[in-house]
Symmetry: C2
């Protein structure tokens, strides 16, 4: 529990230090429990010309939440890796008129042990993450991403 | 020619006025000729922890270039529409260590007359746009998007 809270704080500080766009977005890491990672950002700095969330902000927040999930999962296990997003499919379902809240999970929790095993055996592994931004009627936006990790 | 240059300036001013994230990105609209729209942004405000372009910046720039192409295409023809991104597939092929330069084109130039016809007949139409960010060895990132337009 404490470890998860520490990791949450670490990730937020790391992202805000290294990614200027995340500072403008006023990104916050709000939850991490090992299985799920949540980030949020206020609407004002992420707004577009239609007074709702800019698609680029939604995509950025979901990409960072997904990346952060894998980063903290590996960090918890003491595995130092560089993690890159390979590809993503983004679906914009409804406009977001309030705070942007993204929640990322493994596409299949059973993939993670295989991912860690492949990393140690081949020095490179790929994993899929699903992320969604909450809307008034379910999911306002979703992102399905593939990430590649390589030990540092 | 002058009309295209005017539209280029209009689009840049509009985006910078209404999308705070684009101001942080220091986005510029560098070219529009009716068929193709180009945008750029310097690396510094769009950097990540690996000293290359943040994936969210690449996705945002490509989404705006694609959106801008449709917006200016319609504006040139005097058609006032709201245009929304529906979905996108992003592929990150290689890191970008310099200026981000995105170029958007219709997925199929033959689609545009059908799109305009559908808009006027049904009050809603969909069109696909392809966008790429230049890399050292071809395309560093690509985005295939579907946009929905509705007359205002």
């Amino acid at each position: 529990m404490t470890q998860h809270a520490d990791l949450t704080r670490y990730l937020q500080a790391y992202i805000l230090e290294h990614i200027p766009l995340a500072r403008t977005m006023q990104l916050r890491v709000t939850h991490y429990d090992g299985m799920q990672l949540e980030m949020s950002a206020p609407l004002a700095p992420n707004i577009n010309d239609k007074q709702c969330a800019f698609g680029g902000s939604l995509a950025s927040l979901m990409t960072l939440a997904s990346w952060g999930l894998i980063d903290l999962n590996l960090r918890e296990r003491g595995i130092a890796c560089d993690i890159y997003v390979g590809d993503s499919y983004v679906c914009y379902r409804e406009p977001v008129y309030g705070e942007l809240r993204a929640s990322a999970r493994h596409a299949d929790p059973g993939d993670f042990p295989v991912f860690v095993e492949t990393l140690s055996q081949r020095g490179k592994a790929r994993i899929a993450v699903n992320c969604a931004v909450a809307g008034e009627n379910g999911e306002a936006a979703t992102l399905e991403s593939g990430f590649v990790a390589m030990p540092r």
